[in-house]
Symmetry: C2
């Protein structure tokens, strides 16, 4: 398996034909997985925004006041308003905003980016990243496209790449019913391959000025396994989420 | 960046010289990252165990009874005893055992594997995976070694590869203070590269009978960034863990 960055992508602007920008810089092969950072997808889709686009309502004002008190520095209630508008549920409101985005992704501040946005205050995540992946896939005639993001997680330090949208490939491969060398059923049952592809791509993509937001994974073999598009947990099976809903920060 | 599996590794036995088994099957180059599945590290280190090695005390008996009631099928209290002995904290005891292992990893059932263990009931994780990584690194004269495992996580469906030990390479690279094309400070500050390497390796490693537990990552560039060996979160900064400690399953 081989990974390489698509070279020389220009700064992407609203309305740019992202598919064309990729297509003219790389010769794709069968079964390639094209991993595209959500930043450039958002930029092409015009998801830049300014804080003034989000006049703060009472809930955002209250959230920002509490977060500001905890942080010991003022927090902009317009930013809290943007997070509220991008989310379907506030899972945790202090000491930071952990929410479910409109497409099911659980993350801090609804994944809104305050860096990497020339001429705007904010970059929102794509509205429907799986639809974005499908569109890019058809534009570049790739077999598989994954839209990636980076975020933190419980228990483990630092951020890593994750998939927020995908097309062509299944999100997971399912080892259930398969056995080990000794004939025992496998302990690992469902492997989330699109998250692993996003993590792998992030090793090559880098960040910032030298960043290369599109990475091709060549030679990944899904193999002869059942696939599934379960990617975000159901609330019913997510005990951590249930615990967080009930928890109250008291720091 | 390129990933390939080390071919033809035999079934690893207690006391095997894992370093020699790897070394004679691959020509390593400078800066290669050798990702070794914890299963083979544990096997070589004699971490196979039987349920009879863990006579259940009262706490394990109580835990197994509760888990059995929830699952609607009997649970072996000796298994709960094994989990207790491998853990420093039970973070959540129902509807499954989420614990911190003795080396800081938070996972279900202390990462004890019930598949892939010929002639034994259980395979425990290596006692000190970072020490294992250091030893393998010196045995095979590799620049970098990562000991990997697979586990689930909150919010997202399925399992993915993670690092539980590492040597040579830093766990994370730190982008703090670096800026984007527009001169703004980067949103992503700490990238956990060993977890991303483990995830990438898991795409190639596979599971079960056809599994290849050792994968070489060639051409990964850490670059000119500060590194850190923070890998597992401190309890103080882990609000999810705090919430779970206080939460009570009532299903």
């Amino acid at each position: 398996m081989e990974l390489f960055a698509v070279p020389d992508l220009p700064e992407v602007q609203p309305g740019d034909d992202l598919g064309a920008l990729i297509r003219e810089r790389v010769d794709l092969r069968d079964d390639d997985v094209v991993c595209v950072a959500s930043t450039v997808v958002s930029k092409a889709e015009g998801r830049q925004a300014d804080l003034d686009d989000f006049p703060a309502g009472p809930r955002a004002t209250e959230l920002a006041a509490r977060l500001g008190e905890i942080a010991g520095e003022e927090k902009d209630p317009r930013f809290a308003q943007a997070v509220l508008e991008e989310s379907t549920e506030i899972i945790m409101e202090a000491p930071f905003l952990l929410t479910e985005s409109r497409f099911g992704h659980v993350g801090v501040n609804a994944g809104i980016d305050r860096s990497n946005v020339p001429d705007a205050d904010l970059l929102l995540l794509p509205t429907r990243p799986t639809r974005s992946a499908e569109r890019i896939r058809s534009e570049i005639e790739a077999d598989n496209v994954v839209v990636t993001d980076t975020c933190g997680r419980p228990f483990r330090h630092g951020q890593r790449g994750v998939a927020i949208g995908w097309a062509g490939i299944s999100a997971s491969r399912d080892w259930r019913g398969e056995t080990d060398r000794d004939g025992r059923e496998l302990g690992v049952t469902v492997q989330n391959v699109v998250d692993e592809l996003a993590a792998a791509a992030n090793l090559v993509a880098g960040e910032g000025a030298g960043g290369t937001p599109v990475v091709v994974v060549r030679g990944f073999e899904f193999g002869d396994h059942a696939g599934s598009d379960n990617h975000f947990r159901d609330v019913e099976s997510d005990f951590v989420r249930q615990a967080l809903r009930e928890w109250e920060y008291e720091g």
